[in-house]
Structures are given as C-alpha cells and as structure tokens.
C-alpha cells in the first residue's frame, strides 16, 4: 500500500495517469512520471518514475529510471535505479535493476539481476567504444 501523501504528490507531478477504468494497448513511451492503476498491454517506457498501483494489470515490458510495483506484471522489468516491490505485487518476468526492495508477500517468478550497469550506461559505453 502507498502512503496517501506520497501518492498525492506523485499524482500531482505525473505526466500520465492511467486510471483503473482504462485499458491502454500499444507502445506507451513518456518522459515524465507515469502512474498506472488500470490495464496496459504492449510496452511501457519512461525516462522517469513508474508507479504500478495495487489493482493494475500490466502485460508489457517495463523500462524506467525508478519504479514501485504493487500490481500484476506479466513481462520483463528493467529499471536503471531503485525498484520497490510491494506486498500486493505479482511479477511473472525477469527483473534488472541497480537496487531492490521486496516487501513480504510479494510474488516474483523470474530471474533477477542486480548490480550490473543499467541499460543506458551500457549503451553509452558501447557508443563510446565505437567512436
């Protein structure tokens, strides 16, 4: 569960809010914070923070800077920074992140790799190597 004040602050600063009455299908790409309380099928990407609410259902690969997951995710999760998985989360997919916290009760089926350079840094190094 998310603290009310924190959730309100995130809502105020969110670039996109996908409410519980919606189903989004396709490739969703943003630059700001994203809040998902509804359903997403496809892919979900942002350069910032993604909050997946307790009742959200995601059938998509997720990429973000940081994230908090409380809902159901069917897909791989790639986070550059910190990933927080709360008690209500059910994740079927691989996880890659720099740091991780998992609350008691969360369900995680998949590989978890940590401490590796984040995806962006790897790309930057590859680009530097080429030039």
């Amino acid at each position: 569960m998310f603290k009310n004040n924190e959730a309100e602050e995130t809502k105020k600063s969110a670039e996109t809010i996908i409410g519980s009455g919606l189903k989004v299908k396709g490739n969703f790409q943003g630059k700001g914070n994203i809040i998902v309380e509804g359903e997403v099928v496809g892919s979900l990407k942002t350069d910032n923070y993604i909050l997946i609410g307790d009742k959200a259902k995601i059938t998509a690969n997720i990429e973000a800077q940081t994230s908090r997951i409380g809902g159901v995710v069917e897909g791989n999760v790639t986070i550059d920074g910190h990933l927080e998985i709360t008690a209500s989360a059910k994740i079927n997919g691989n996880i890659q992140c720099s740091s991780l916290s998992v609350e008691k009760g969360a369900l995680l089926n998949g590989k978890c790799s940590m401490g590796q350079p984040a995806k962006k840094e790897v790309k930057q190094k590859e680009n530097q190597g080429q030039s």
Partner: protein, 255 residues
C-alpha cells in the same frame, strides 16, 4: 487600430444599454474602433483581409463562447490562406455567465473589466486545436461509455466503464498551459463500489498529453467549445497555428 465584431444576439433589447455603456467606455479610454456585425458578414475571412490591408491589428469579439468560436475559426482559416499573421484577439463577454466560460478562463469576467484589460493589452500566444476541418480554442467533451481512442498513432485507450472524455487546451475548471504545444486528455470514468448502494460511483481520473487523437466510436456526440455539437468519429490535432490573445491578470491558466 481596433475592430469590434458583434454577435447577432447583441442587438437584443436587453443588451442595448450594456452595448451603449461599452461603446462609451471604449471611446473614453481611446480604444474605440470600427464595428462589424456578424449578422451582416457573409465571409469573415474576406472582411478580415480587407481590414488587414488598412492596418488592422486588434480584433475584439463582443459576445459569448459561440461568438469566440466562430471568430476563431474565421481567423484560423484566414491564416491558412496567409491573409494575416498578426491579429491580436480580445473578448468583451456579453450574455449569460455560463455561456462565457472561455473569456472567464482567460481572466475576462465582465464587460467593464474587459475594457480595462483591452487597454492594458497583456498578450499571450495560445495554441489552438483542430477537429476535422474546423478549429477549437478551449475544449471538446465526449460523453460515451464505450469510446475507443487512438493517440499519437502509438497506442489506444479504451474505457472499460462509462465516463466523460475531455480534450482540453484550456478550461474553466482545470488549470492547464495552452502554450506548451500539446493538448491534454482527461478521462473521468466511474468506479463501481461493491458494498455501497447510495453513492455507488466515484470518479476515477486519467490523464494524458497528446498531439494527435482519433475517436473511433460512430455514435458519440462531441461538444466543442461549450457551444457546437458534432458527431464522432473525429480526428483531433494540435494546430500548427497559435493565436495571440489579450488576457486578464486573473486567468485560470498555469501561465
């Protein structure tokens, strides 16, 4: 040089005194100008072209939301024909408050305040939206339980429950930035509560920014700028045009 465009309803008896007062006040502060009556104009873009040739810079709409909507469309069409790129628009609201939501959002609440705002001439370049072949300034409302929207040709949004869709450039009740080169999509759907009977619905808000949107439902009705109805499907985009407006200090915008 100022041009005042009067809507037809302005000639009604109940507005005559107000119109006299407006004209007197405009003369007193030295910004009176030529008057065009919408009723008598057949081709507004052509009239604007004629006036532009004589050095017209300011067009002031005297009327309500529907008057502003008509004039915006004419000016936007005129701009596509390269008739004039430099009009600045002002509004003097007249009629019911409920029919003057656009002017009040821009900080112009009544005719007396409007005259002072015209004199102060604080301007703001505002985006306009396009729906099919016409333009809108403020917002589009769609009341439909089963609407399916395609956004930026990248993803689709489907409402699972009944709700209201609002496509907003600027609005009287939601503060937005109409200069940021995107339109806002708000969807207010209803959440059903299992254990409550009385107020069994609570509104659930979704929010997106976009530049292109298609509606696919064929049965829904759109309300444009609080005054014009249109049937879906519709193609809604951010127009490449911006219009300069004379705005008040107390506008309900984030800029």
């Amino acid at each position: 040089m100022y041009l005042y465009i009067y809507d037809a309803f302005v000639n009604k008896k109940k507005h005559l005194k107000t119109i006299t007062n407006i004209e007197k006040r405009l003369t007193d502060i030295g910004i009176n100008g030529k008057i065009l009556k919408l009723k008598e104009i057949k081709n507004i873009p052509y009239e604007l072209q004629k006036k532009a040739e004589t050095g017209l810079k300011n067009v002031v709409v005297v009327g309500d939301d529907s008057t502003v909507h008509k004039v915006i469309n004419s000016i936007a069409i005129a701009k596509t024909k390269n008739i004039n790129q430099g009009f600045t628009l002002g509004i003097i609201p007249l009629g019911e408050k409920n029919n003057n939501k656009m002017s009040s959002t821009l900080g112009v609440n009544d005719w007396e305040g409007a005259c002072e705002i015209l004199l102060a001439r604080r301007t703001l370049k505002i985006n306009i939206g396009q729906i099919n072949n016409s333009y809108f300034l403020s917002e589009i409302k769609i009341e439909n339980p089963n609407e399916y929207l395609e956004i930026n040709k990248e993803y689709s949004v489907k409402l699972k429950r009944s709700g209201t869709i609002r496509i907003i450039n600027f609005s009287y009740d939601i503060k937005t930035n109409p200069t940021n080169n995107s339109l806002d999509l708000y969807i207010f759907s209803k959440n059903k509560h299992l254990f409550s009977f009385a107020s069994s619905f609570e509104t659930n808000k979704s929010y997106f920014e976009f530049k292109k949107l298609n509606t696919h439902n064929k049965k829904a009705k759109l309300l444009i700028d609080n005054c014009v109805q249109l049937a879906t499907p519709a193609h809604i985009t951010l127009s490449s045009q911006k219009l300069s407006f004379i705005v008040g200090k107390n506008r309900n915008l984030t800029v």
